[in-house]
């Protein structure tokens, strides 16, 4: 009962039957007829990834959404109707990829930034120093120094810190959910940009050990690839409790995706399902979490920060407080719109809360409790541009994780079909024919460019506000004003309405 989602429009005057589209489409939409020297298309399998359209040398192709022939109905949208058709046929859970695409309020788009005018000078970052360097880790309550022969000497012992040249990191994406070339692009870009990337829960390919100082290694419920080398190699360890796209549920990497290389990295036999249970079975409480945090610290002789990643859910505020008290060095919070390689659609679209509200509430609570300095706060869940970075830091984050934005930099067109393993852009696939489309030599440069561009923009925005260090922006909500928000929302964000001084 399903009709094609997309329509392939081929301009016959332009098409030279070169078959680029035929070769590029892993979904076999385009077919070449040798007898007639004619390319035709069957849209039924088209996912709207725009690979063919982008690569068509004569611009003969246009991919459009098919106009739905359902009778107009504000309640029963085409997606809902088609979902039922699909489930009635298969009896299965609907799957999707990437972050929530539903029209919930995006608070970033209701927040506006401040700038200096007359009464305080703005700063030109091209002319004056501007500090974006960020340290992730537990900060002491006070710092004691002594004046010795060599000048001021720090007496306070400060725990392990991650040094970031700009407050942006690449979010957890496992080798398995994305290709090796995508992982390598992220690792090299992290090194080149002086930031870190995150292995996700799939282990670390030995050839990426060389990027260890720029690597955060995850320890998730399946404990895949977690062995002593892995713990030793990474710069920091992250206990993954949940992710924004699918809070509260585990993950299944189906056996057919566990290829020889993936099997070596996850350290499980080829072809078996890689199941990540919904909870860690050794963590049923904050006390248990503390136990694992310190097990990891003991296993690495207290040399590395240990963070905890959680999804933004209703009780995220007391949970964050508990995580700080459990001894974590940072907490990464992933909001409602955080991406995924595969998640049940109904979970992705309905579970969790937006990152803007979560960060504002966590920052306020940790300050009230006097423990904000004890933990760094990393925001994730659809940071789309440098404006979002500045806004979320002003709401209280120390740094951000970007996943979707990084993949878009590598060519992702957000078709949301990551879970099929047929990514035509060579990102969310393990098919060697497709993965070679992503050249890590270019991929890392594109990511590096993105980080450079955002960093320059952040400096411009900071300078405009008259601020010369990102430190001074953190939790500085006076630099934010709300538009189109009700009083409760403004209150939850801790932000004044635009127009109020």
């Amino acid at each position: 009962m399903l009709t094609p989602e997309f329509r392939v429009e081929r301009d016959r005057e332009r098409c030279i039957a070169c078959q680029v589209c035929v070769r590029q489409c892993a979904n076999d939409v385009h077919v070449y007829d040798t007898d007639d020297d004619w390319v035709s298309s069957d849209e039924a399998a088209c996912v709207g990834c725009h690979r063919c359209m982008t690569l068509c040398p004569t611009h003969a192709l246009t991919i459009r959404r098919t106009p739905r022939d359902f009778r107009a109905n504000a309640n029963w949208s085409a997606d809902r109707i088609n979902g039922i058709y699909k489930q009635a046929e298969t009896g299965g859970i609907l799957l999707t990829g990437m972050g929530c695409d539903q029209p919930y309020p995006i608070y970033f788009d209701h927040l506006l930034l401040n700038a200096s005018q007359v009464t305080n000078p703005s700063i030109d970052p091209l002319r004056e120093p501007m500090e974006l360097r960020t340290y992730i880790g537990r900060k002491p309550d006070r710092v004691e120094v002594t004046l010795g022969a060599n000048g001021v000497e720090l007496q306070t012992q400060i725990g392990p810190q991650l040094k970031l040249e700009t407050p942006i990191m690449f979010s957890a994406m496992s080798y398995g959910s994305i290709s090796y070339n995508a992982c390598q692009s992220l690792a090299r870009a992290a090194e080149a940009s002086g930031i870190l990337y995150n292995t996700g829960e799939g282990g670390l390919h030995p050839s990426l050990y060389q990027y260890g100082p720029y690597t955060i290694a995850q320890v998730a419920s399946g404990r895949f690839g977690v062995h002593s080398e892995y713990l030793k190699t990474a710069a920091a360890l992250e206990i993954k409790i949940g992710q924004g796209a699918k809070p509260g549920i585990g993950g299944h990497l189906p056996g057919e995706k566990v290829t020889a290389e993936i099997s070596a990295t996850r350290m499980i036999p080829e072809g078996t399902d890689a199941l990540s249970p919904a909870p860690h079975h050794d963590i049923y409480s904050i006390e248990d979490l503390r136990q694992l945090i310190f097990a990891l610290k003991e296993a690495t002789d207290y040399q590395k920060p240990v963070g905890v990643k959680v999804a933004a859910v209703h009780h995220i505020v007391p949970i964050a407080s508990g995580i700080a008290r459990a001894g974590a060095d940072y907490i990464a919070v992933d909001g409602l719109r955080g991406g995924t390689g595969a998640a049940p659609t109904v979970i992705r679209n309905n579970v969790g809360i937006p990152i803007e509200l979560a960060i504002a509430a966590i920052d306020s609570r940790l300050r009230e409790e006097g423990i904000r300095n004890q933990i760094s706060l990393i925001a994730a869940g659809s940071i789309r541009n440098s404006g979002d970075v500045v806004k979320i830091i002003a709401l209280g984050a120390d740094a951000v994780y970007i996943g979707t934005a990084a993949l878009v930099a590598l060519g992702c067109h957000l078709c949301q079909k990551c879970y099929t393993g047929k990514c035509n852009w060579g990102i969310a696939t393990q098919d060697p024919y497709l993965t070679k489309r992503l050249n890590p030599n270019l991929g890392y440069l594109r990511l590096n460019n993105l980080i450079r561009a955002w960093s320059m923009e952040i400096k411009e925005m900071l300078g405009g506000m008259g601020i010369n260090a990102i430190e001074s922006l953190r939790g500085n909500r006076d630099h934010l004003r709300g538009v189109g928000l009700n009083a409760t929302e403004l209150d939850a964000l801790g932000v004044k309405v635009a127009g109020w001084a």
């Binding site: 699909k86 489930q87 046929e89 298969t90 009896g91 299965g92 859970i93 609907l94 799957l95 320890v219 419920s221 399946g222 404990r223 977690v226 062995h227 002593s228 713990l231 299944h252 189906p254 056996g255 099997s263 350290m267 499980i268 036999p269 072809g271 078996t272 399902d273 199941l275 249970p277 079975h281 050794d282 136990q291 694992l292 310190f294 097990a295 990891l296 003991e298 296993a299 690495t300 002789d301 879970y419 099929t420």
Partner: protein, 248 residues
């Protein structure tokens, strides 16, 4: 110098583990006795070589978590999380062990003379030549071998009375790899979804004989007693227990 005694009395686990790290840097140290251990956690975690540690007293949670190399002998009981995500080495417990023993264990061996708690051997996994093994002389609580993905889990029920069943329910729920052997009675209702009984073959008999002989030698039990009752072998019915969940 080969043997060394450390009095753990009054030491916080962090101090005790720092001391252990320090002493194992001396390659001549092959054997350490820890006296007066009262609940110190994470013993043996970060040592990375084959040193023998005899624990006198009661070690705390996460004994040998992430461990890679040492041989730990506990002269008494162990607490929860023993052998958590353990990589290699051996733990021998002259008593019982608590919950989540051998959680996500990847290699090495755990021998428990008596009983274990809940969720033991969850998500054990094997890869190439690394096969984790847990042998339990007594019985286990619920969720034994849940999500088990590899390795060998043996529960011998030596302390069960004749005709007395194992008490664990949901045995091997979500199991998709590895082998589990239970000596003694277990009813079908006690087994988790996706797990079934399979007949023992020659390789199983050889494996069980090897493990039983080693258990007998470690704890002073007669091997004949162990084989006085047959073993039941449990194995996953599918490597893809959750294969038909989704609409593609």
């Amino acid at each position: 110098m080969s043997a060394l005694r450390i009095d753990a009395n009054g030491l916080h686990y962090r101090e005790l583990n720092a001391r252990l790290r320090e002493v194992v840097t001396d390659a001549r140290v092959t054997h350490i006795d820890l006296d007066n251990v009262y609940g110190q956690r994470y013993l043996g975690t970060d040592l990375h070589r084959a040193v023998q540690i005899d624990i006198h007293g009661t070690p705390g949670n996460d004994l040998a978590a992430f461990m890679d190399g040492p041989r730990i002998i506990v002269h008494g009981n162990a607490q929860d999380g023993c052998g958590n995500t353990m990589n290699g080495g051996e733990i021998i417990i002259h008593g019982s062990a608590g919950d989540v023993t051998g959680h996500s264990m990847r290699g090495g061996k755990i021998w428990v003379r008596d009983n274990v708690g809940y969720r033991v051997g969850i998500h054990m996994k094997e890869y190439l030549e690394t096969h984790p093994t847990i042998v339990i002389g007594g019985t286990a609580q619920h969720f034994l071998g849940e999500y088990m993905a590899g390795g060998v889990l043996v529960v011998m029920g030596l302390n069960l009375a004749p005709g007395e069943r194992h008490i664990a329910n949901f045995v091997g729920t979500g199991m998709h790899g590895g082998k589990m052997y239970l000596r003694g009675e277990v009813d079908d209702y006690q087994l988790g979804k996706g797990v079934g009984r399979v007949p023992l073959d020659d390789a199983d008999h050889i494996l069980l004989h090897t493990l039983a002989t080693e258990y007998a030698a470690l704890f002073g039990v007669d091997v004949q007693t162990i084989f006085s009752q047959p073993f039941v072998k449990l194995a996953p019915l599918s490597l893809r227990p959750y294969g038909r969940l989704y609409a593609y």
